[in-house]
């Protein structure tokens, strides 16, 4: 449940992680030519990390361990 302090904090951690994933210093790493399984690296990184972030958010709120 989101009411749990621990869950809220885990989500907030994912928020910070997302801020890092989706912003400047890290983005410049992928901002180049070439391809990654046929996709531009930046596109692949953004879509991939976005999906991974969503998956982690789902895991955090749906796991009832705490």
């Amino acid at each position: 449940m989101i009411r749990s302090r621990l869950t809220a904090q885990r989500l907030a951690f994912l928020f910070l992680l997302g801020c890092f994933f989706f912003n400047y210093p890290l983005l410049s790493v992928f901002n180049r030519g070439g391809d990654f399984f046929g996709l531009p690296p930046l596109y692949a990184w953004l879509m991939g990390s976005w999906l991974a972030l969503i998956a982690q958010m789902a895991w955090v709120v749906e796991s009832r361990s705490d």
Partner: protein, 935 residues
């Protein structure tokens, strides 16, 4: 098959199905089996975030700026990661306070201020109407493009079409009718629209499926997968440029700004607030939405870039607007059914947005703008009107019509202009102005109404100046000179380079200045004063959350007889009665009539009304009927406030008084000691005078006898002179000892401290008294007294003590059989000296008294002549000396079996090691100082 009538029919069919769903959901809600009480429905309904700006516009943005369309969806993802801290709290607060809109939220938070609610409403309307225009444009364009099938023709600019042939007008009218049907069928106390939410959830599914269908068709129907599209795109230089995003730090800055902006927009846009907060059935649904809504955004963006690239490959040269690729690509491949489906998807995106946004805005306009004004106009006499529920619905319906009308007008005037293209972000920037007061209001108790007003006003003005006016100018509605040269030709006032700030894109530039001013004014003005009582109470409710909900809002009372008709006027009598009956039931009462006229009932009525007319208006209405009118809520609050201040003062006073009591006690004690000392001094002086007078009297008597009788014989004369001499000696000894004692006690004594062998001192003292012992035939024995018992002391003083103790002992032992034993031994820490005699001993009660000045042992009076043998000062002086060297002197005695005087001295000199030779320090450990001294 895609004739105009087919499209129109399909559109109406679709809207009809939506309405059926809404109607069904409303009916289910009425019988208490809510269709939307489901986390999945909640998550889907949040998809109202994706408007035609997403459905058509994302591809357009991607065609223009590559991956630059993404931040708009990354921001909401991040917001939902913060859901536990922000959204959850907002929902909880909104539920306990029956918040009906974001304007109501802000107004309620800062002391139920009508002015603030009005300002928020104005900002929201101004900021969002262009956004509505964008939806109208999208629907009418997509209709026009689809109707021209099989040709692909871009529609003419809106202004060029005669009004009555403009499909956007009909779209606006249909949407207005539809919104009125959805949103204002009846007044709900909580301002929730279950049917609407259900329809929105369905629309979210439709637009997502439609977009995915296009994506799949483009990627796998027209190409060999995503990789193929990217590979083809890479070969065309013009298209390849879109593959990478940022070439400069400024682009990253814009990227970050858009994430930040969309994060707030997905919370603060009126429609988002409506769906996420107001329409939320159960706060626990949020946990599912935390990942489902971002996933929805992910899916709807999955094919944006491939579709954009495919469109650019397929329609080179820009003849086809990239915003329409979603629709034109299937049309180009003669996929009629798919094209129609896409059009329906676009229609869902537009209708969903328009319905929710307009309902939210109309609620705000009605509750926070129109009603407060109407209620204030006495000539209308509304406050006394019997049934206002009809009026409320009427106002909302007109508000919907006017808002959509304004939207259409904006679309008509702006046409293809710049202002429409970037309007999504301009709207986002407008609602971002709510962020400081909303988020700040949730977590900071210090915010005041004035601060919120100042912050919002400052942010709004800067938004208008740096973003809205330039967009007007670029559309040609305003002379654009002021963009290039600044207002009044002042360079520093150039709206997009305000105060010389350059290097930022216009959105970032606007946000930097407006949010800076907003936040600065909000905090700065708030800090001008402490929140008043009402603000403080609301702050507790909002910041403290549910646990603060028990705070009563009213201290006055009103009965059911007043409150029920009042509520009935706004809600309709039947609904009001129902709500009151439920309230009575909750309180365990049998019926409405049993409800007591108390503060709780008034609070209930206010919350009930707040759902219908907003918290600020509800306060005013309830205030008009509550009793104890002379002592209004403000006065009561003021009294409470003063009372709490008084309480604070009292606490302070109590503490001060405790301190005073403590100080007084100390003073009293000190005074008592002073008195005691004073009395002791008096005693001492009278004793001293008495002791001095005794020898003086005898000297005088014998001298007078010698003077008056010159014929006195020689033997007699010699005896008299002898007495006079011995009395004089006694007198001078007495005076010396008094002086000595005064010196010791006043600390003026001089000490010469050195290592002294105690045994040596004992033997020397004994030697000096040998004659006296022999005269009285008293035996003097030694026990121990071996050399090497070294202490740090003044040798002469120690000698004085020894002589004193020995002569004391000699005084009291019987002549002939008397025996005095001196013992000395040492432990590791101290040297112990005992002077034991076989005299009469000392009574227990006298054992301490003999150390007082001028006290002689009581035992002596039996044995001795009336004349005292000593001065009564020897023992006190000895004790002072011993204690000065950190030793102790006491007596051990059994009456009739002799007495033993014992003293100890520390072997290691201890503290006295620090005493320099000849230094004067306060004498003795007892600390009793006497005035005077040897002066």
């Amino acid at each position: 098959m895609l004739q105009g009538w087919v499209i129109v029919l399909a559109s109406f069919l679709y809207l009809g199905i939506l309405f059926a769903i809404a109607w069904y959901a409303d009916r289910r809600a009425d019988v208490g089996r809510s269709l939307i009480a489901n986390p999945v429905v909640y998550a889907l309904s949040l998809g109202v975030y994706c408007t035609t700006w997403t459905f058509y516009g994302s591809v357009g943005r991607a065609a223009a700026s590559g991956i630059g369309f993404l931040p708009i969806y990354l921001g909401p993802t991040l917001l939902f990661a913060l859901a536990g801290f922000i959204l959850h709290k907002m929902i909880r607060v909104a539920k306990t306070n029956r918040i009906t809109s974001i304007a109501d939220f802000v107004a309620s938070r800062y002391g139920k201020s009508q002015l603030l609610g009005g300002l928020v409403t104005v900002i929201a309307v101004v900021g969002v109407i262009p956004y509505i225009a964008l939806q109208l444009k999208a629907v009418s364009n997509s209709f026009a493009i689809l109707a021209s099938y099989p040709e692909i023709i871009m529609p003419a600019t809106a202004g060029a079409v005669p009004l009555l042939q403009d499909s956007a007008l009909y779209v606006a009218m249909i949407l207005a009718a539809f919104t009125i049907l959805f949103g204002t069928r009846h007044l709900d106390a909580t301002e929730r629209h279950e049917g609407m939410v259900a329809a929105i959830a369905v629309e979210s599914v439709v637009k997502l499926v439609a977009f995915l269908a296009v994506g799949i068709f483009v990627v796998w129907g027209m190409h060999d997968g995503v990789g193929d599209i990217f590979a083809q795109a890479a070969t065309v230089p013009e298209v390849a440029r879109r593959l990478a995003t940022a070439d400069s730090p400024a682009a990253y800055g814009t990227w970050g700004t858009l994430i930040f902006l969309s994060l707030f927009a997905s919370l603060l846009l009126p429609r988002q607030f409506q769906i996420a907060v107001v329409e939320n059935v159960d706060a626990s649904h949020l946990s599912r939405a935390v990942w489902m809504f971002p996933l929805y955004l992910f899916l709807i963006n999955l094919f944006v870039l491939p579709v954009a690239l495919a469109g650019m490959l397929h329609f080179p040269g820009g003849a086809v607007d990239a915003d329409t690729f979603v629709l034109t690509l299937p049309m180009a491949r003669q996929q009629e059914a798919l094209a129609l489906f896409v059009y329906i998807g676009g229609l869902s995106a537009a209708t969903g947005m328009v319905i929710v946004e307009t309902i939210a805005l109309s609620t705000m306009v009605c509750n926070d703008l129109v009603m407060p004004l109407l209620l204030r106009l006495p000539m209308l006499g509304l406050a006394a009107h019997a049934d206002l529920s009809g009026l409320l619905l009427e106002i909302r319906r007109w508000a919907i019509v006017i808002i959509l009308g304004l939207g259409y007008l904006y679309f008509r005037v702006a046409g293809e202009a710049y202002a429409l293209v970037s309007i999504g972000l301009i709207s986002f920037a407008a609602v971002a102005q709510f962020a400081p007061v909303v988020i700040g209001g949730l977590f900071w108790k210090g915010g005041t109404r004035d601060g919120a007003l100042a912050g919002l006003a400052a942010g709004f003005v800067l938004w208008v100046y740096t973003l809205l006016l330039p967009s007007f100018a670029k559309s040609g509605w305003l002379p654009d000179g002021f963009i290039a040269h600044g207002l009044f030709g002042i360079e520093l006032l150039r709206p997009q380079h305000l105060f010389g700030l350059t290097g930022l894109d216009e959105i970032t530039h606007c946000l930097v200045w407006s949010l800076l001013a907003n936040l600065g004014a909000y905090i700065g003005v708030s800090l001008q004063r402490v929140p008043n009582v009402r603000e403080a109470r609301q702050a507790t409710l909002f910041v403290g959350g549910a646990e603060a909900a028990g705070i009563p809002g009213w201290h006055s009372t009103a009965g059911v007889g007043d409150l029920l008709p009042l509520a009935g006027r706004f809600l309709g009598l039947a609904r009001a009665q129902e709500a009151f009956a439920r309230h009575a039931q909750q309180r365990g009462l049998r019926g409405i009539t049993e409800l007591p006229a108390d503060a709780r009932l008034v609070s209930f009525a206010e919350t009930l009304l707040a759902g219908a007319i907003g918290s600020a208006s509800a306060r005013v209405m309830v205030a008009s009927v509550v009793k104890e009118e002379p002592l209004g809520i403000d006065e009561v609050m003021n009294i409470l406030d003063e009372a709490s201040q008084v309480r604070a003062y009292t606490r302070e006073l109590e503490q001060k008084s405790r301190e005073l009591t403590r100080a007084t006690a100390e003073l009293r004690e000190a005074n008592a000691r002073l008195r005691e000392l004073d009395r002791m001094k008096d005693d001492f002086i009278s004793t001293v005078t008495h002791e001095l007078r005794t020898p003086l009297t005898s000297i005088r008597a014998f001298s007078e006898m010698l003077q008056e009788d010159p014929k006195i014989d020689l033997a007699q004369r010699t005896r008299f002179v002898g007495i006079i001499v011995s009395e004089t000696v006694r007198l001078s000894r007495l005076i010396n000892q008094i002086l000595d004692l005064a010196k010791l006690e006043s600390g003026r004594a001089e000490w010469t401290v050195a290592a002294v062998d105690v045994a040596e001192v004992i033997h020397e003292a004994a030697e000096s008294l040998t004659v006296l012992f022999a005269e009285k035939h008293v035996t003097l024995e030694f026990d121990g007294c071996e050399a090497g018992l070294i202490v740090l002391a003044d040798r002469d003083r120690l000698m004085q003590v020894m002589v004193n103790l020995l002569s004391n002992a000699l005084k009291f032992v019987p002549a002939g059989s008397g025996r005095v034993t001196v013992g000395a031994d040492g432990t590791a820490n101290e040297v112990r000296v005992r002077v034991v005699d076989n005299g009469p001993g000392i009574q227990v009660q006298d054992q301490e008294v003999i150390f007082d000045k001028f006290h002689q042992g009581a035992a002596t009076t039996d044995v001795l002549t009336d004349k005292p043998q000593g001065t009564g000062l020897g023992l006190p002086i000895s004790r002072q000396i011993i204690e000065y060297f950190n030793g102790r002197l006491w007596v051990e005695s059994t009456p009739g079996a002799g007495a033993g005087f014992v003293f100890t001295l520390p072997r290691q000199a201890g503290d006295n090691g620090k005493v320099p030779q000849g230094d004067t320090v306060p004498g003795g450990g007892r600390g009793h100082k006497l005035p005077g001294g040897n002066s």
